[in-house]
Each structure stands twice: as C-alpha cells, then as structure tokens.
C-alpha cells in the first residue's frame, strides 16, 4: 500500500471518528452568536451512546424497509467518504466517474429513508417523505452538475483529480469559477443536510420539518445510526466544499505510484491539516448562516436550489468562456 493510500485511509478513519463533531460545532457557533452558553460540543457522542443502550421499537405495520434505512444511511456516508478526496491526499477508492457514485449512494440513502417514513403509515412522516422527495429531486442535478463541472474542467473524471488538489496558481487564475462553484456546493449542502433556511433541525413541529419528521418513529440504536449517518453526510459535504477553497501550493506531493516525493512531507501535513480546518470552517459558516437567517416557507425552499443552480450555471459558463 502506497504512502498516499495509507494517509488517505488514516484521514478516512479520522473522519468516521470525528464526523459527529460537525453538528456540535454548528450548535456552538449558533449559541455563541446568540449569547448563550450552548450545548456541549460532544453532545452527539453522548446521545449516540445513550441511544445505543436502548432497545429498538418498530411500528406494527412496518416492514423490512423500516429496518433498512439506518444501515443504508450509514453505509452511504461511509461509501461517500471512501470516494471523497481529503485534499491532496486524494481518496481511498476513487475512480473515473466516482462523482456519479457519490450522488448515487446518497440517493440510495434517501430512497430507503423515504420508504421507511412512508412505511410507518403516518401522515406526518409521509408528509416529510414527500417534501424530501421533492426538494432533493431538485438538488440532485445541481450537486451532480457541480461535481461534473469540476471534473471535466480538469479533464479527468474523478473527484480526487477534479477538486482534491487544485494547484494554487490555477485557483487564483480562476477564482471566480471556484468561488461560484463553492457557493453552489455550499447551498446544496444547506439543502441536502436539512439546515436552515431549507429545514430547521431544531424545531419539533411536524408541519415545518423535513428530515426530523421522517425519523420520528425510529428509536434506540436505529435512531443512533440515523443520527450518525446524517453527521457523516454533513461532514462529507463539508469536506467537498472545503476542497474547493483550499488550493494546493507548490507542486504535487505524491508521484504516480503514490509514494511521497522527497521533501514534500511538511507540505503534505500542512495541506491536509488545512483541508480539515477548511471543513471545520465550513461547519462554522453553516452555524453563522443559521444564526442570521430564518427558515423559509415551504414553497420558497426550491429557491435555494434555483440559486445554487444559477451559481453553477454561471461557473460553467465562465469555464466555457475561458476554455
């Protein structure tokens, strides 16, 4: 196993371990802005431990699909983390076309979660599923197109090559392109992870929720798995967005076989740390956005996708003009 792969797998393990921090960071930022002390940073870890100790309850009318959703969600998050580049380290299992698979595994997670919600036979949860189905069907093309534009811009169709190690010179040359694409990705992040202004993860009014209402009937370990899955998804999106804003200074770090180039060790450590710091910064940014915006009315939620779509179309046009 090459040095690059080893580092990538280390980053992968690190991500699995620390993904539940992201919601904590967002909450802490919101609390600080609001002048409160806020919940503990590690609250989600405590929650997960508490939930894992409980027993699982299943609605009488539910079927296998209800039980499938938690595992499918976690599996989607793990698979996506296997494909997402950790900055210049690249990804663990990337290949040409992996960007479609990233969108695909999240679609699988959504499909199972929506069917699980409908499976309970509850009107509220059906409502959540309908909203999720509608909004995510608008977000999917935008996400795919964002990733695709980045990939075919590089002429190589994997995420690692397209957005993992953008050379600093190219980044500053085309800052407009990368900034607009990053903005689009960030908006998709808000929408896909059910953050404000698309969805309010804190309310408990069925009529205003999307994600939380779909998991009303999951309990115990199942709920823990679902919470962990959504933390993984949030962290994946944070990493993707951070990749956009953290270009790689200097030449490449690894040779074709994946061995570290002589004298690049320090730079590699720096840029990986920068990427992770970038992901945390994106989480902070989500917290800031949540502090200053209110939740949109349901019929205005598609406007977030429309805005993201506008951004990415502008970026694509900018790329087209300059190519």
């Amino acid at each position: 196993m090459s040095a690059r792969l080893l580092c990538a797998f280390a980053a992968f393990g690190f991500s699995l371990l620390f993904a539940p921090l992201a919601p904590g960071i967002i909450n802490r930022v919101k609390a600080v802005i609001a002048g409160r002390q806020g919940r503990p940073l590690l609250l989600l870890y405590y929650d997960l431990r508490r939930l894992l100790r409980k027993e699982a309850l299943y609605p009488r009318c539910s079927t296998f699909f209800f039980r499938l959703a938690p595992a499918a969600g976690v599996c989607a998050g793990v698979t996506a983390l296997l494909l997402v580049p950790f900055g210049p380290l690249g990804s663990c299992a990337g290949f040409s076309g992996d960007f479609v698979l990233v969108a695909g595994v999240f679609a699988v997670a959504r499909f199972t979660l929506m069917t699980a919600a409908v499976d309970t036979g509850s009107a509220f949860e059906g409502m959540g599923a309908a909203r999720e189905a509608f909004f995510s069907s608008l977000a999917e093309p935008v996400l795919l197109f964002c990733l695709a534009v980045l990939c075919f811009r590089a002429g190589v169709y994997s995420l690692a090559a397209g957005m993992g190690s953008i050379p600093a010179a190219a980044w500053f040359n085309d800052a407009t392109f990368y900034l607009t694409t990053g903005a689009a990705l960030f908006l998709v992040l808000l929408q896909e992870n059910c953050r404000l202004p698309a969805d309010d993860p804190d309310t408990h009014l069925e009529l205003t929720m999307i994600h939380e209402v779909m998991i009303l009937d999951h309990s115990g370990p199942d709920l823990a798995f679902l919470e962990y899955a959504s933390a993984l998804k949030l962290w994946t999106f944070c990493l993707l967005t951070a990749d956009m804003f953290v270009p790689l200074a200097g030449g490449p770090l690894f040779d074709a076989q994946g061995a570290l180039l002589p004298g690049a060790g320090g730079r590699a450590a720096c840029s990986v740390a920068l990427t992770f710091a970038g992901a945390v910064a994106v989480a902070v940014l989500v917290g800031l956005v949540e502090s200053v915006t209110a939740r949109f009315r349901m019929e205005r939620v598609p406007q977030i996708c429309a805005l993201a779509g506008g951004f990415i179309c502008l970026a694509a046009l900018a790329y087209w003009r300059t190519s």
Binding site: F65, A71, A72, L101, V108, F111, V118, P141, F152
Partner: protein, 707 residues
C-alpha cells in the same frame, strides 16, 4: 442464422396448441436463442441469409451483425419470460376469449420483432414492421368482440380456428399500408371499419381495451405512414446514396424516420398510445410491448443513422432535443399519475428520452472527433436499452400480479401490500430502485456511462457551442434522474408500504409460481447486470464499434479508459455492499430484542389508514411547482356555507398531447365528416343531380383540355 426462421416456425406451430404448450416450446427456444444472440454479440459474428420467396419483392434477405445481436438479446429474453408467464395470465383473463388467437398473435409479435431486427431489405423490413405493429392490437382487443363472436369461432372450437382466422386478417392489412391515411381517418371516426379484424363498433368509451387498441392502431399507422414516406424518399432517391444527396433529402428522410420510429418508442409528443395500451395490456403482453417493442423504435433510429451516416450536425441536436423533451415530460407526467401502470408507461417515455440523449451525444461527439465521449455515450445508450427492458418488464409483471390479486392498480386504493405480498413487493422494490438509477443496480451503470460520456464530451469540445449542449444535456439528465427517484419512491412507497387504503388488501394472494419465477429471474438479472459491469461492457463492445467506427489509436485509448474504469466501479460497489452488510449486522446486534408497537408519529394516536399521505398529496408539491409545464387540473372546493358538507379536492394530470392531437387532427376530420353527412340523405333525385353536376363538370373540363 437459420435460427430466426426456425424459431419463427416454432412460434407458428405453437399457436395451434394449448397455452401451456406455447410455454413449453417458446420459452426454452427463446432462452436458447437469447444465449445464441449473446454468443453472437460476444464474438461479433456476422451472417447473412437470403431466402428466395415468391413475393413480388424478390428474395428476402436477413442479416445478423453485432448491433442486431445487441437488440435481439432483450427481445429473445423477454419473449422467454413472457411465454413463461403466459398460461397463468390467460387463465386469469376473461373466460370467453379466444386463447388460440391470442397465443397466435402473441407469438407473431415476438417473432415479428425478431425478424424486424434481422431484416436487411427495405420492403421486407416494412412488411415485418407492419406485422409486428398490428399484433399488439389484436392482443389488446382480445375480449372486445366477445359478444359478437361468430358461432364458429368460440372457445369450444379447436384453437387452430384462431390461427386460421388471424392469418388472412394480417395479410389483408399489409397491402393497406399505402392507404394509411384512409385507415387513419376511418378508424378515428368509425372504429367498426376494423370490426371484422378484431375491433368492435361502438362509442369511444366502449371499453378501456377497445379504446387502447384503437388509439394504438392509429398511432402505429401514423408512424408507419411516416416510415413509408422515409422509405419512399430513400427508394426514389437519385443514384449514389446519402453521400451525394442534397441535405434537404437526407433531412426529410431523417425527420420522417424520427417521427415514425419515435411513435413506436413513445417519444414525448408521440407517446399518446403508450399509457392506454400499457395499462390495458395483460401482463405478458405489457412485458413484450414495453420491454421489447419500444426497443424496436430505438433500433429503427439507429439503423436510420447507420444508413444516413452521422454527417449532418442537425441530427445530433435533434436527437438530444427530442430526448430531453421526452425525458423531462415523461418523468413529470409519471410523477403525477395515480395508476401504477400509467406511471410505468410514462416512465418508458422518459427512458427512451435518456437513450435518445445518449445517442445524440454519441453523434455530436463523433462530429467533434471525441472518440472517448462517443464510446461512453454509445455504451450507455445500448446498456440502457437492455436495462430498461429488464426493469420495465419486471415492474409490469409485478404490477400485473397486483392487478390480478386486487383487481385494481390505482395507488389511492392500494397500500400496505408489502406485508401481504412480500415476494411481489420485494421484486417491485428491486425494479423501482433499479429504474430510479440507484447504485449498484443496472440502470445506474448505464446512466453512469452516459454521464461520463456527456462530461467527456464537454471536455473534448471545450470552447465550442457543442460543449454547451453537452453541459445542458448533463443537467437535463441529472434532473430526469432526480425526478425518477421521486416518482418511484412515491410509486413503491405508497403502493406497498404503510397501511392498506381500502379493505381489498386483506385477501391479496401471491401470483402463480411461473410469474414468481419470472420476476425473481428478472430481479436477479437487474442486480447482476449492475454488478457485472466489466462483463456487460465486454458484451456490448462489438456493437459499439458500429457507432464509432474503428479508427485505431483513439478508439483503443477510449476502450482502455472504460475497461479500466468499470472494474474499479464494480469494486467500489461491492465494497459498499460489504460495508452495508457490516453496518446492518452491527445495527441488528445493537437492536437486541426489538419490540413492535403502534406508530408513534409524534404522539398522534388517532391516525388511520385513510389519513395516510395519499398519492395526490405526495405529488402535490412538485405538481404545483411545475404547474406551467404539467398543466394539471386542480379542483379545490369553495367553502360557502357556515357548515359545509362533504367535498372533494384533488388534481389530475391529463395528457395534454393526446388532447392536442385529438383536437388538431381528429376533431376537424370528424367535423368535416359530420358536415359531409348532409350530402348523403338517400334521395334518389338528388343523387341524380350529383351525377348530372359531375358529368357537366367533366364535360367542361374535357372541352377545356381539347381546346
């Protein structure tokens, strides 16, 4: 190559036998033929065969090449599946129908499709096309003339009577082809014109099957009219072929073929027959029609391109435009339907659109000499043809099982079927997930290749306007797949999960063993075809070189690119499955002894089955958002009194193109015909007056000419 003839004769022989006999012979024969076609494609075999026949057309020429093999595979496969389930479906259908005739036309449809693919002659192709197009009509209207059955052809007669009855009918219609406009006009106005073949005179709302059959016949004949135009243009063309023709002529042929074949594969504004026909068709017929017959349209388009050559840049743009239109509107219409089978029918229009986008992308890439993009798009298109056949036939089979068990496919009346029909539900779920393009199932693989082809095309043509087209197509394809996830989540979730919305669910039964075996087989193929990505690509590779030509170094590079990518995709998919198994295991172990309880739903204890989110409410957000495109009919009761009574709110998504076609084409004809009735009042003196006027006019004309 003689195989085609052999299978054909087998089919003919079978028609005289009992329904179970049909299965015994045709299913293994088709399955064997399918394997032979696979082998032929794998090795890239080319054969040809000429049969001297006493036709005025001279000899019949048949041919086999990798492209034809690629289209033969799903046809044979689905013929096998459909004949496997045939006896069970027949026994579930009406008592009084003529089984022999049904079996005959069923086999004729399958054999017609096989022969259409292999025909290498223009006229032969047209004749076989017509046979293939007519057979479904007789399958659709099978029970329409039951009351008017002649005493001699009842079911108590030997089944061969059906065969004898059917052959002259088909033969007699074939020469009618040149008179298609007549058939078109009369069928719309007076369906009784075809009463002696199978239709029945009556009001348009006589029966679903009758209406479906009629609208199918009209669409098929209109399509055939355009095909005839295309072939006539081709035959009367100046010597030399497409290379030396004026662009106007090639474009005329192209558009005529696009309309003709597009009507067959249900492209958007021409899809009008599809929702009706697929809804009315019994399971085995729907399998053949949606899974195999739609492919014929694609095959026709590919053949047209092969004959005309990809030279004209317009072709690529038209293909992509038509594909985008069909894909978007197909899936939008599917999202708003409330009948399972109609959802599936509209989703066929969507998938044909995806295939057309990919074909157009392939053409456009070839024009810009981007071999990699062309290969990717062509591979995606061909694989999507196969994958759509698999998923759609699986979905139609299982939807048919629901129909037989519960006598309805209306989503608002279903729900909670997964508990009662676990096997059917699991197969339907697999089909839904596959056709919604979820990894690691088969449609995801073909969509992955198409996405990559579009991205690669956008890179290879950067800076030209073609790059913009590629990018737009990418976005459109993304929207289509996003919407299809919406559609199939709704379809599966509301039909099979939750609580039964009407009492019928309690006595639902699983279908017979043959149907279950066929569904399981197709579902397994859906999974296997997705995971065995390198194998699938190796299989279609010989056919791809037809699209892209074989100009060595570039093609080899592109092939190497794809052949490196697919195993890695398979590895990623398999490791994702392994991760899933591990996580699921952990989840089960953590769950300890799970208990069952009532649905909590945020402590709302009064929920019942009728309060579940309904099909209409699930789609409402999307429908309202896309109101200008979808143009639904929304009815909201106005509340006037202080204590309003019972009221209904809802929406329907009528098929606007059908309404438009009827308004634009058929209502004027009906109006004119109505007016023309005034001429025909049965008064002898007035008829003599007509003759006098005609004679005088002729005299004046003759005088004018001689002077």
């Amino acid at each position: 190559m003689l195989l085609a003839g052999a299978v054909y004769s087998l089919f003919r022989v079978r028609s005289a036998e009992d329904a179970a006999g049909i299965r015994l012979i045709t299913a293994p024969a088709s399955l064997f033929a399918c394997c032979v076609a696979c082998a032929a494609l794998w090795t890239g075999a080319r054969e040809s065969l000429a049969l001297p026949l006493p036709l005025p057309l001279g000899e019949c020429r048949f041919a086999l090449d990798p492209l034809r093999s690629a289209f033969l595979i799903p046809t044979f496969l689905l013929a096998a599946v459909a004949s496997l389930v045939l006896p069970g479906r027949l026994s579930a259908m009406d008592e009084g129908m003529d089984y022999g005739r049904h079996g005959f036309f069923f086999c004729l449809l399958a054999a017609g499709m096989v022969l259409v693919i292999q025909a290498a002659d223009g006229p032969l192709f047209l004749i076989l096309w017509e046979i293939m197009s007519l057979a479904p009509f007789f399958l659709l209207v099978h029970n329409d003339r039951r009351d008017k059955e002649l005493p001699g052809t009842g079911p108590e007669q030997p089944d061969g009577a059906g065969g004898r009855h059917g052959v002259p009918a088909v033969v007699s219609v074939v020469p009618v082809v040149p008179a298609v406009p007549v058939v078109k006009g009369t069928t719309a106005l007076n369906p009784g014109r075809h009463g002696d073949i199978g239709g029945e005179p009556g009001s348009p709302a006589a029966s679903d099957a009758g209406f479906a059959g009629r609208i199918y016949l009209i669409a098929a004949h209109l399509g055939a009219l355009f095909l005839l135009l295309a072939f006539a243009c081709w035959e009367t063309g100046a010597a030399g072929g497409p290379e030396v023709w004026t662009p106007a002529r090639t474009r005329l042929i192209f558009f005529a073929a696009l309309i003709g074949f597009g009507a067959k594969c249900g492209l958007f504004p021409l899809h009008v027959w599809m929702p009706e026909a697929h809804t009315a068709a019994p399971g085995h017929v729907a399998v053949l029609m949606s899974g195999a017959m739609l492919n014929m349209g694609v095959y026709g388009l590919v053949t047209t391109l092969r004959l005309l050559g990809p030279g004209d840049p317009l072709f690529a743009y038209v293909f992509m435009g038509a594909g985008a239109l069909s894909g978007l509107f197909g899936i939008l219409a599917a999202a708003a339907q409330s009948d399972m089978k109609r959802v599936l029918a509209y989703s066929s229009a969507e998938n044909m659109g995806i295939i057309l986008i990919a074909l157009g992308a392939c053409l456009l890439a070839l024009q810009h000499d981007a071999q990699q993009a062309a290969l990717l798009a062509a591979a995606g298109a061909l694989l999507h043809v196969w994958n759509h056949s698999l998923c759609k036939s699986l979905l139609f089979l299982t939807a048919n099982a629901v129909k037989e068990s519960l006598h309805t496919t209306l989503i608002p009346r279903l729900g909670g079927l997964q508990k009662r029909l676990p096997f059917t539900g699991a197969c339907f779920a697999a089909g839904s997930a596959a056709i919604a393009g979820l990894p690691p199932l088969n449609c995801f693989l073909s969509e992955l290749l198409i996405y990559l082809g579009l991205a690669s095309g956008a890179y290879a043509t950067r800076g030209t306007e073609a790059a913009l087209v590629f990018m737009a197509a990418f976005f459109v394809l993304g929207s289509i797949s996003g919407m299809s996830l919406f559609t199939f989540t709704r379809l599966y979730g509301l039909t099979f999960l939750g609580l039964p919305r009407s009492g019928d669910g309690a006595h639902a039964r699983e279908p017979d063993a043959a149907l279950r075996a066929a569904s399981a087989f197709l579902a397994l193929l859906c999974v296997a075809a997705g995971l065995a990505a390198p194998l699938m690509f190796r299989l279609v590779r010989p056919a791809l070189l037809f699209f892209t030509g074989n100009n060595a170094p570039q093609t080899a590079d592109a092939l190497a690119f794809i052949e490196e990518l697919l195993p890695r995709y398979t590895c990623a998919a398999l490791s994702a499955l392994a991760v899933f198994a591990l996580v699921r295991l952990a989840n089960v172990r953590a769950g300890r002894a799970p208990r069952e309880c009532g649905t909590w739903a945020c402590a709302y204890p009064y929920g019942n089955a009728r309060m579940q989110y309904s099909a209409a409410s699930f789609a409402l957000g999307l429908v309202l958002f896309l109101k200008p495109l979808l143009r639904p009919r929304i009815s909201v009761p106005a509340i006037r009194a202080l204590f309003p009574g019972a009221a209904e709110a809802g929406f329907s998504a009528p098929d606007r193109p059908t309404e438009l076609w009827i308004k634009a084409l058929f209502l004027p004809v009906a109006y004119a015909a109505n007016k023309a009735k005034a001429l025909q009042h049965g008064l002898l003196n007035i008829y003599i007056l007509y003759i006098l006027i005609a004679l005088t006019a002729a005299l004046v004309w003759a005088l004018g000419i001689s002077s």
